[in-house]
């Protein structure tokens, strides 16, 4: 019987429910010191100097470091595809040198004997700031204006780069159109906010020369290389250890200034250094996401055929370009066409700097925003044509017989290739399981969204498998567990290939000393790329052992597998949302949410369900509750978890998930990614449901989050227009 496809439990669950997990704040080393980061209190100023005498004079304070004391380096961009020449000019230093560009920017670090003393001393560090006459740049479309003050003087403009994505002849298609709908849509700044904040413990052993860092996540091997490089060490001298991780969602694990500073301090001070980010810091220091403004026009025929769209977007990158480079600005172009057949489209995204916390990739980056924009427009076009929005989608989804389906984006640009999936059938399945007609009959607001989502990106992963005499099978793979259960999925794959009980399979992924290489866990890639690498390694082992006799497996030694994946996979996804709107107060109550996502083949259905449900909850929250507002001076207004409204159980509706399976041709295991499938379609579906609930007034829905104040404003305006 195959263990792949069954919902086996994760080995770590017992420890976690009994409070025996080991998260980075639980790591303590003898003689450790505690670091506290001093962060800019203003969005924009020249930094004339840092006064540390008062802090240094405090009992228990061991050091205060500023830009002058740490390497003068910049945090690099991780993926080459996300980098441009201009982006390389806008990278962040470890500590602010001549100027500060956002509230929360690290300026200095205090190191003391305990966290209380460190925080007391940090308050005594004086920042000599000169505000100058130029206002902070806050709004991305204002930032793009020619006369806007520059966030980065090295660039001549706050627009770092412009990314065109073009297919077909847009002008010709618009001429053909019976109707053109134009709108400006906006997604508010919000982000992942995992329940555990970031943290690091670093220790340098002077005898061996090795630097060990606990608290790593997501992309350990890349980070190890960069940390080694920036600190002037050989990569082999640096060891990154992942302990239990309290969620990542894309924002944890990327290299931040602290990831280099804390090990540097351990090296310089000759004692272990521990740094645990507090929640107030987290809200200004850890990557933000999602704020984009899109001005889009969609052309269609009277019979509901979508012809073309033209989109101009301003994508907020914050004050610096971080490790994910300009991906938040690049990904919308690839995701705006969605699961539909278009004659033509043109997207022009502007990657824009603002004097606010830098932007990274939060679960479903660029694609969640693009899906909201496109799916909202599909509903508006449907309204304009008096065609049912579900019917309009049916008429335009890529038909099965056209798979694999390609949008050729011209010379030099890789095409968009939808490899597999019967989109119309998937869509019908969602509608049937959601009992869409019954929902509509209940008189609540019903909204639908369909999308395609990029995942399973390469270029490759390597894994090794060996059978040990004690009866266990050890799998090594360069993935990261952020709570999603990847280690369990890999164990299932190895167990099936080797015919061993899954309980005997142990997956090592925590320690760069133990696992040679890995690209890491992001972009819904691990089950696909690492999973296939594990399968190849296990298959090779079985072949060498000429069977699954355990003794023979042991004797065959350690085998390796390498799986290369040249192109990403695209998964179809869709959601149905039902909401009720209290028109008196503007409160939107999400009643039900059904999400479907093409996972190719579900290795562990329970884990897939968990990912889809968790992602959907975050997406619903982004549609209705979460926002990181700033005032006109660039001061963040969401400073606590009381301000930043992540939903409780009461705000999240029952979520049903459908793991769609399709024939996948680009990898032997037939898997597509599942980590981001739940979130991408959620805000769009919810927004369409709110618009449906509001009737005529709902045409104004074009901005997230749909807070009571925004809903009331739409209703008031509609009332006034009605008079």
């Amino acid at each position: 019987m195959s263990i792949v496809g069954s919902s086996i439990e994760r080995a770590r669950d017992v420890a976690l429910v009994t409070g025996r997990g080991r998260f980075v704040a639980d790591v303590d080393l003898p003689r450790q010191l505690h670091a506290r980061v001093i962060r800019s209190p203003v969005a924009r100023a020249a930094l004339a100097g840092v006064g540390s005498e008062a802090a240094l004079a405090r009992r228990g304070v061991v050091a205060v470091v500023t830009a002058q004391d740490v390497p003068d380096v910049r945090i690099p961009i991780r993926l080459p595809v996300a980098a441009t020449a201009n982006a390389e000019l806008a990278l962040q230093p470890l500590l602010a040198r001549d100027s500060v560009r956002y509230v929360g920017e690290p300026v200095a670090v205090v190191v003391a004997e305990d966290p209380w003393l460190a925080e007391d001393a940090a308050e005594l560090v004086e920042l000599d700031l000169d505000y100058g006459d130029e206002a902070a740049v806050v709004d991305p479309s204002d930032a793009a204006a020619a006369e806007a003050p520059l966030v980065d003087p090295a660039l001549g403009s706050n627009v770092v780069d412009v990314f065109p994505t073009v297919f077909g002849d847009v002008e010709a298609a618009f001429v053909e159109a019976d109707v053109v709908v134009r709108r400006r849509l906006r997604v508010g700044r919000h982000t992942a906010v995992p329940m555990e904040t970031r943290g690091l413990v670093a220790e340098h052993d002077p005898e061996t020369g090795r630097l060990t860092i606990w608290g790593a996540a997501k992309v350990k091997h890349f980070n190890r290389g960069v940390i080694a490089n920036l600190l002037g060490l050989e990569p082999e001298a640096v060891r990154l250890v992942e302990v239990d991780v309290g969620g990542g969602f894309g924002v944890r694990g990327e290299l931040y200034p602290e990831d280099v500073i804390v090990p540097f301090l351990a090296l310089s001070l000759g004692r272990p250094v521990k740094w645990i980010e507090d929640r107030a810091e987290h809200l200004v220091a850890t990557n933000h996401a999602r704020e984009q403004i899109h001005e889009i026009a969609v052309a269609a025929r009277a019979d509901g055929t979508l012809l073309a769209f033209e989109d101009r977007a301003w994508c907020d990158q914050g004050a610096y370009v971080r490790t994910q480079g300009l991906l938040p600005s690049m990904l919308p172009g690839l995701h705006l066409p969605g699961p539909y057949v278009w004659q033509a489209f043109s997207v022009t995204t502007h990657a824009v700097l603002t004097n606010r916390t830098p932007v990274g990739t939060y679960r479903g980056p660029g694609m969640t925003e693009a899906t909201f924009v496109r799916e909202r427009m599909v509903d508006l076009v449907a309204g304009e044509l008096s065609i049912d929005p579900i019917e309009l989608r049916r008429r335009n989804l890529v038909p099965a017989e056209r798979m694999p389906f390609t949008y050729d984006l011209g010379p030099g640009a890789p095409p968009i290739v939808y490899g597999s999936g019967d989109y119309p059938a998937f869509f019908e399945r969602l509608l049937t399981e959601a009992r869409i007609e019954d929902l509509k009959a209940e008189g609540v607001g019903v909204g639908v969204a369909a999308t395609v989502e990029l995942g399973g990106i390469g270029p490759f992963e390597e894994a090794s498998v060996e059978a040990l005499e004690d009866g266990t099978v050890v799998v090594r793979a360069g993935v990261a567990s952020l709570g999603q259960g990847i280690e369990t999925a890999l164990a299932q794959i190895a167990a099936d290939e080797l015919g061993v009980p899954v309980e005997r399979v142990v997956v090592h992924h925590h320690d760069t000393d133990d696992v040679e290489s890995g690209f890491g866990s992001f972009a819904s890639r691990s089950a696909v790329v690492a999973g296939n690498a594990v399968a190849l390694a296990a298959r090779e082992l079985r072949e060498r052992a000429a069977g699954t006799d355990f003794a023979a497996l042991v004797a065959a030694g350690e085998t390796r597998g390498r799986f290369e994946k040249e192109h990403p996979s695209f998964s179809f996804g869709a959601a149905v949302s039902a909401v009720a709107v209290d028109e008196e107060t503007g409160r939107v109550t999400a009643l039900r949410h059904v999400v479907a996502h093409d996972v190719g083949r579900a290795v562990n259905p329970a884990l897939v369900h968990g990912q889809l449900a968790g992602g959907a909850a975050q997406g619903i929250a982004g549609a209705l509750f979460e926002e990181l507002p700033y005032d006109e001076d660039g001061n963040p207004l969401a400073l606590s978890l009381a301000d930043y409204a992540m939903p409780t159980l009461s705000e999240v509706p029952p979520i049903e998930t459908i793991a769609l399976e399709s024939e996948v041709l680009d990898n032997p295991l037939g898997i597509k990614g599942a980590g981001e499938g739940g979130i991408t379609s959620a805000p769009a579906a919810v927004a369409n449901a709110v618009a449906d609930a509001l009737g005529q007034a709902g045409r104004a829905v074009d901005r997230l989050p749909l807070t009571p104040a925004r809903v009331r404003a739409m209703l008031r305006e509609s009332d006034e227009e009605g008079r």
Binding site: P115, W116, E123, R279, T585, R587, A645, A713
Partner: protein, 284 residues
């Protein structure tokens, strides 16, 4: 967000608490449940030199009724107040307490803490004002009663002297046919209210309104009793709608970036309508 430094002493009795406050010479804060004070300390928004812990002081957790008047001790926890069987309009205190945060906050938070903290969005000050209650404050100099109107001076600001401690809330007997309603609007379960309304209405034998308090909280710097429900009115749906409209129009919402003034008025209207409808249902 580690707490800032403070000297700490634990009081076993009110007298000891007052002594310790005296020793502190004005730069001390009382702490009981800590649900309001500790987050403020964690953010280092406020740094008292000393904390006097009254969490274990005895004799302040009684709920005593005498001829229709209730005296509620300052250390009565919200969870207890929520379940207290208070008759007539005094039920408003229990209704309001139910809306405070979440269960784990209510097991610790106290009446005295909530009143003393005077958060403009807090529920119990609204209820206390609607019931014409008086704060009983004690110091080494003696005891005094302060009407809620005089007690709440501004956001997080009360008429308490630095050497005074709240020991109880005295709630006068309400007229015979009195009923109460409490409604609030919060974005999420357990959030601070964006607006809250506490109403107490008394009816004469003919069913006309003989006394009314309509108090709005969370919308202005302090909770305020609005002159919205006229005496002699009947509480029918049309009247209720009119009162809701008048109440909303008479509010002066503080400027807030998260919720605009127009929406706050809309919320007040909805909450007044809801609270008065609850009263109407009880009176029927």
């Amino acid at each position: 967000m580690k707490l800032p430094p403070f000297a700490y002493a634990r009081a076993r009795s009110v007298d000891e608490a007052l002594e310790l406050l005296g020793e502190a010479g004005g730069d001390a804060k009382l702490v009981a449940g800590g649900q309001s004070l500790v987050p403020v300390l964690a953010y280092r928004l406020f740094r008292p030199a000393r904390l006097v812990d009254v969490d274990s002081v005895s004799g302040l957790d009684g709920i005593v009724e005498r001829n229709g008047e209730h005296e509620v001790g300052a250390l009565v926890r919200h969870a207890r107040l929520e379940r207290a069987e208070l008759g007539g309009a005094h039920r408003l205190l229990a209704l309001a307490a139910r809306h405070i945060g979440h269960a784990p906050i209510r097991t610790r938070g106290t009446l005295g803490g909530s009143l003393g903290h005077a958060d403009p969005a807090a529920e119990l000050p609204v209820a206390a004002l609607a019931l014409d209650a008086r704060v009983v404050a004690r110091s080494a100099r003696g005891e005094r009663e302060i009407a809620m109107d005089d007690f709440l001076l501004g956001p997080f600001s009360t008429a308490l002297e630095p050497d005074e401690m709240i020991v109880a809330l005295r709630v006068p007997a309400a007229p015979a046919r009195s009923f109460a309603g409490f409604r609030e609007f919060a974005l999420r379960s357990g959030d601070f209210a964006l607006a809250s309304v506490g109403v107490v209405v008394a009816f004469d034998e003919d069913g006309a309104v003989s006394r009314a308090r309509v108090v709005v909280g969370g919308v202005e710097p302090v909770p305020r009793s609005l002159d919205a429900l006229p005496l002699g009115a009947r509480l029918d749906p049309d009247t209720i709608a009119e009162v809701a409209h008048v109440a909303a129009a008479s509010c002066a919402p503080a400027d807030d970036r998260t919720v605009d003034a127009a929406t706050r008025r809309d919320l007040v209207a909805a909450l007044v309508r809801g609270a008065l409808t609850d009263v109407g249902a009880q009176a029927a």
